[in-house]
Subunit: 320 residues, 2 copies
Amino acid sequence: MSNEFDIIKKYFSEFPQRSDVILGVGDDAAILQPPKGHDLVITTDTLISGVHFPEQTSAESIGHKSLAVNLSDLAAMGAKPLWFTLALTLPEADSEWLSDFSQGLKNLAARYQVALVGGDTTRGPLSITIQACGSVPEGRAVRRSGASPGDDIYVTGTLGDAGFGLASVQGKIKLSDADRIFCERKLNHPEPRVSAGMGLLTLATAMIDCSDGFAADLGHILEQSKNGAEVQIKKLPLSTPVKNALEKQNDYSFPLAAGDDFELIFTASPESRNEIAALEDVLDCSITWVGKITQKPGLLLREKSGELYNLKKTGYQHFE
Amino acid sequence: MSNEFDIIKKYFSEFPQRSDVILGVGDDAAILQPPKGHDLVITTDTLISGVHFPEQTSAESIGHKSLAVNLSDLAAMGAKPLWFTLALTLPEADSEWLSDFSQGLKNLAARYQVALVGGDTTRGPLSITIQACGSVPEGRAVRRSGASPGDDIYVTGTLGDAGFGLASVQGKIKLSDADRIFCERKLNHPEPRVSAGMGLLTLATAMIDCSDGFAADLGHILEQSKNGAEVQIKKLPLSTPVKNALEKQNDYSFPLAAGDDFELIFTASPESRNEIAALEDVLDCSITWVGKITQKPGLLLREKSGELYNLKKTGYQHFE
């Protein structure tokens, strides 16, 4: 659009500065100094209105979430976020929307000192693509493929809140006002576990961020690590709203299969238990043990009694 | 979309491999080894159907052009392309379209050994965002801001062809079949001047790729270099179709103001003339001298006689 440069200048100028950004927005490309002795870690994610967020989502939340989902991917590699680019497609240059969107983006970028180094603004149906770049000490990035039989399985934060938030926005479930606000915030304002991911760099043997749902995402670890898992469903970390609603009917489909929580699922050697507990003490999120990696492929979900919990009845049949 | 992983695996697996890609598509993020002693150069561009390419454009051309416009930005910094990510939004997973699109993308990626290191596929109105990353020896990237009074101004290839191609597609001008095919190919299959850009790394004092039109893009150099220019309009490099059509009426609005040519506009010291001529000998595109950088701000367009050519009459009033 003709006023592309004005838009970028006006709303996206006061983002965090970094000394490794030699030249930022405003030339054909940004010039960046990669940290010595480090690998780069790069990810990209698109958010589309009506697909990745409900159409009524606030511009501030959309700005936050667009960057959050990318930082979450970097966190899942144990990486420190450095820079990002923004490709923004807008139906119109609405200055109030742009101001709110850039504020949401900027607040999160500022928290982790991530620099906006490039952008492209085009006219079209609302869509946001961010590509984020981070670094890890050479050879140290945490992959999905490193889990071994006997490893513990952990998850940060709580599971199922975003799924509840989405069901509430869609009018599928009725929550109290307080629970609704809590769950919708988890949906619209996911907190990327950047500090947890960086802290787990030397502890996690495999890691993934939980965007498709716990069972599906743990499944990616199992597939790439070529092993299986036993998970204690009563150990799954639940917030009070989700706990109250689900435990009555023993239905764990939300924490097991709803997406968008952006928590980290990771595995670690039992020898790392004390260090993980010590890390949890300094983080702003919990780290909860939920099960063990097994040699036998497949994901077994166990009740406290030891009986198998059957996720099939909820309509999710990806795993047994 | 549910078959996202299948799509990526099926159509985007046989892309060029690079030894500096430690881990490509398939984890939360790619792991990459930046070249030692180099800066990174990063750009992003979105292509939207009906905005950046006519809706009837072939999938193969869209695949080519999506990467070409990004490689063109890297070329304008003098960078060697290394890696790219692809965020693809599709109304439906049409396998014929995907096959053609990935072929266009792959052919260009293979030519410059650029690796596809990450992707995101979502459902929505057709839109493609690519982010490309290249490298330049530390501190050597060519910026828009380095032109000095007395520098020569050059342009690669020919100007106005893509503009003619677009006008032809839109039915605004009538071309012979041969001219139409030539100009529409320049529109749909722009050749990023990667080799020229890398060859000019030590010669160009300022450089930009010509996407908004020659006058506007040279204007960006003048603005950032804080000087002006005199351009000899009769020196502007024109293909035969454009030459024949325009010279009769002495109307240079297409080569001066039409976009999408993706040629490089650059400045260089007169001392570099021999080296630039030697470089041109080994390139697959021409390099043409078109004018000089001046101390006095503004862009003056001169006829062969020395008289001023007035671009205003064409409706473009950005410069005088």
